[in-house]
């Protein structure tokens, strides 16, 4: 048996300890961590369980209302009924009547331990007689105020100890003492029948002159006729004998609370017990101490239950601290949502950074916090995990969420939902481990887009390079044609210089070839201007369109042997245009019609005036131009695929030039082509182009 601090194990300490635990629970409830709350709820339920089951009557009173808050089973048993919460004490006062110990005076409600505790008094071992349903109980009460974190009264806790048997015993002893004649027999009878372990020790050596069966059973050995030193030869006597000596010498009683003692039980196993001991000196008629009455109450269960609470509390607090640290420091965002409504209990720092700062999480539901995610796979996946227990993992799930800037945007998340169960195995909530991978996904998308863009750019560059190569090829070929003609003409001239007609013919050819070369260079420069988005310089004057076209076709007919057929309703179609430009447009379109059309068929040129617009249509029969080529045909340096594969002449600036010239006049040029209808280029010019070219 070890020496211990007796005051530390008193019922008062138990009360204080319970009060402290209450206060701890309350402060933890108020703490912000939801996992704390979780643990605290566990604590509270533990505490309530222990309070409810502890075989000591306990009740609680609300200090403000004076109404009952709680009473445990032992209390119910004592009262003979269950007092529901909120019942007023005064109504119970009719059933319970308290009398002052000794005087037998009826106590007022104000004198009750709960009232005294409400007033802030310290109530310890307050003894009185309690008459409950015509039965008297001697009780010792301890009451205290349990305060909240901030010092506000919360509840009054009252612990009741039924000491009827001890009091009766003491009374019996007194009666016995006073009677002095009743003798041992009666006392012994009482002793032996009592179920409370008790002994009577005689003389300064503390001889066991009476030890009842419960006592001997409790200590596991025979004691009658022996001294304390003889019975407790294992060292326990060293603790108890000095106390007994003092009681014997001074005549003052000793009460020990929750003293530890190791005893061998029926199965020869060493057991730890906690006992309350009352040592009462009893005296002879001369006032000299004759012996000591010792009463032992086994309080092991209560103490063990309390220690269990303390230990489990400590363990839980340590576990909770570990969990808190783990959750707080986790590189993943961790959120715990409770119940099917997904109320947030945990949202660590990373979680709060997950989408956007400034949202309140704890105690709010998922759909309250993320209204933008209602009816999305994000919430459905969590609900599914909660309902089925299936772990769900999402990779780069795209969600439209409110960003840190407060705007809705697509963000990407990796996350895993895991269901957790409560201690009864019922679904408790869903743990979600998440990563915001928006930057990663965006970077990848950007890289992919860049790569695609790069590929397209490379392709375009390749295509452009191809076009340029082909253009240079066509340019050199086409420029060589008038140069070849010039060289040949010059060589021919010397061979027949004496024939004036021949010289004239050759001169015309030389001039024509030089004009062609010059025209090519001009076309090339103008096409470049058009490509650069510049307007072509025009000299707009009053012009007769019919005359211009007629002249142009006449010039071409010299070379192409009367291949054109011009038709017009009117030979006088006057408007404002640049004559030179109109000639170039007609030359280009008409030459193309000859070049690409069927050589046996005439090229028809129609001129038509409609309101304030002049329409010129140039039609040839022959191979059609495909639709895709029609769309591309006016772009610079493009020639139709048939023209390219056919190894045909021209570098593809003609139609670009036509379009540029027509548009400079505020007009338009279109093409339609089919195998049955042949190919028609239609030019529309406003009657007066001056306002389009200022």
């Amino acid at each position: 048996m070890k020496r211990s601090n007796l005051s530390d194990h008193s019922p008062e300490t138990l009360l204080k300890r319970i009060a402290e635990l209450e206060a701890q629970v309350e402060s933890l409830e108020k703490s912000e961590s939801p996992s704390n709350q979780e643990i605290q709820k566990n604590h509270q339920s533990w505490l309530e369980h222990v309070l409810l089951e502890i075989p000591v009557p306990i009740y609680m009173v609300n200090p403000l209302s004076g109404r009952y808050v709680f009473g445990n089973k032992a209390m119910d048993e004592l009262l003979g009924r269950h007092i529901p919460a909120q019942e007023d004490r005064s109504s119970i006062a009719g059933e319970l009547v308290a009398f002052e110990e000794g005087t037998g005076r009826k106590m007022t409600l104000d004198e009750y331990p709960s009232s005294r505790a409400i007033r802030g008094e310290k109530v310890e071992d307050f003894k009185f007689l309690w008459r409950i349903r015509n039965r008297d109980y001697h009780v010792s009460t301890t009451a205290c105020m349990i305060q909240e974190k901030y010092g506000n009264p919360k509840t009054v806790l009252v612990v009741v100890k039924d000491i009827s048997e001890q009091v009766l015993l003491l009374k019996q002893i007194e009666i016995s003492q006073n009677a002095a004649i009743e003798g041992h027999e009666q006392l012994q009878g009482f002793f032996m029948q009592s179920n409370i372990p008790m002994v009577i020790l005689d003389g300064p050596d503390h001889h066991f002159i009476l030890a009842n069966p419960p006592y001997e059973k409790f200590i596991g050995r025979k004691a009658m006729g022996k001294t304390v030193a003889e019975v407790f030869d294992g060292g326990e006597a060293e603790i108890y004998k000095p106390i007994l000596d003092k009681v014997y010498e001074t005549g003052e009683s000793f009460i020990g609370k929750e003293l530890p003692i190791d005893l061998v039980d029926e199965n020869c196993c060493l057991q730890n017990y906690f006992i309350n001991i009352d040592y009462h000196a009893f005296k002879d008629k001369h006032g000299n101490t004759k012996g000591i009455l010792a009463i032992v109450i086994d309080v092991s269960e209560q103490v063990k239950a309390r220690k269990l609470i303390e230990n489990s509390t400590n363990t839980l607090l340590i576990e909770k601290a570990k969990l808190d640290a783990l959750v707080a420091e986790s590189p993943s965002a961790i959120g715990l949502m409770k119940g099917k409504d997904l109320i947030f209990e945990v949202a660590n720092n990373k979680w709060q950074e997950l989408v956007s700062l400034g949202r309140e999480y704890i105690g709010k539901s998922y759909s309250e916090i993320y209204p933008e995610l209602i009816d999305t796979d994000a919430i459905r996946s969590i609900q599914h995990t909660f309902a089925t227990g299936e772990t769900f993992t999402a990779n780069e799930m795209k969600l439209l969420v409110k960003s840190k800037l407060g705007i809705l945007e697509d963000q990407y998340f990796d996350y895993t939902n895991v269901r957790i169960l409560d201690s009864n195995g019922a679904p408790y909530g869903v743990f979600c481990y998440a990563h915001n991978v928006t930057n990663r996904v965006r970077n990848r998308i950007e890289i992919e887009e860049n790569r695609k863009f790069l590929a397209i750019t490379v392709e375009n560059l390749e295509h452009e390079r191809e076009l340029r190569e082909r253009f240079v090829l066509a340019l050199t070929h086409d420029l060589r044609t008038p140069i070849t003609a010039l060289k040949m003409s010059a060589q021919l001239l010397s061979r027949k210089a004496d024939d004036p007609n021949f010289v004239r013919t050759i001169s015309k050819r030389i001039i024509s070839s030089v004009d062609r070369a010059d025209q090519m260079i001009r076309d090339l420069l103008d096409a470049n201007r058009i490509k650069a988005g510049e307007k072509l310089p025009l000299q707009i004057k009053q012009t007769n369109m019919f005359e211009v076209i007629e002249e142009t076709l006449a010039g071409l007919n010299v070379i192409h042997e009367d291949r054109f057929n011009l038709s017009s309703e009117n030979k006088l179609i006057v408007g404002y245009w640049d004559k030179d430009s109109v000639q170039r447009v007609i030359e280009n379109l008409a030459s193309n019609a000859i070049k690409y059309g069927t050589d046996t068929k005439k090229v028809s040129v129609k001129l038509l005036k409609r309101d304030d617009t002049v329409e010129i249509s140039i039609h040839n029969e022959g191979n059609p131009i495909s639709l895709s080529e029609q769309q591309d045909i006016f772009n610079p340096f493009r020639r139709t695929s048939s023209a390219i594969s056919g190894g045909q002449v021209g570098w593809g600036v003609g139609l670009t030039l036509v379009k540029g010239l027509v548009e400079s006049h505020g007009g338009s040029v279109t093409v339609s082509s089919s195998s049955s209808q042949g190919t028609t280029f239609q030019v529309k010019l406003p009657e007066d182009s001056r306002k389009y070219h200022e």
């Binding site: 090829l473 050199t476 070929h477 060589r480 044609t481 008038p482 140069i483 070849t484 003609a485 010039l486 060289k487 040949m488 003409s489 060589q491 021919l492 061979r495 027949k496 021949f502 050819r509 024509s512 070839s513 070379i559 192409h560 070049k595 690409y596 050589d599 023209a643 056919g646 190894g647 045909q648 002449v649």
Partner: protein, 119 residues
């Protein structure tokens, strides 16, 4: 008509075509002309078989290469010597021809080559 003096000129540019006609006629050749390959093939059906064809490559409707392929495949025409006169720098197209003269061609050189096949 002396078949050995007949030359067919297939050339889309009218001035070059006419220059060639004048130059050859001055040398005593009988000259027929065509503005493209298709016309050239049609001409071959109408005229006595020429001693030589002078052929341009880049022409509309039917180019020189296509023209050459057709006559090479025709056993009646395959034997006609063909001299290419072209600005096309792609010499891979000259297969099946007797010579490849690059524009701007020297008239004397051209006539030398012609005289080799048309006597």
């Amino acid at each position: 008509m002396n078949r050995n003096k007949i030359v067919l000129v297939v050339e889309d540019d009218i001035i070059i075509r006419e220059n060639l006609r004048d130059a050859l006629e001055m040398e005593g050749y009988k000259v027929f002309t065509a503005a493209n390959g298709k016309e050239g093939l049609e001409k071959l059906k109408l005229i006595p078989q020429p001693a030589l064809v002078l052929l341009d490559m880049m022409m509309p409707v039917m180019n020189g290469r296509e023209f050459l392929d057709v006559i090479l495949a025709d056993h009646m025409l395959a034997a006609i010597p063909v001299i290419i006169v072209s600005a096309d720098i792609d010499e891979s197209k000259k297969v099946g021809s007797k010579a490849y003269l690059k524009k701007p061609v020297d008239l004397d050189l051209l006539l030398q080559w012609v005289s080799r096949y048309a006597k």
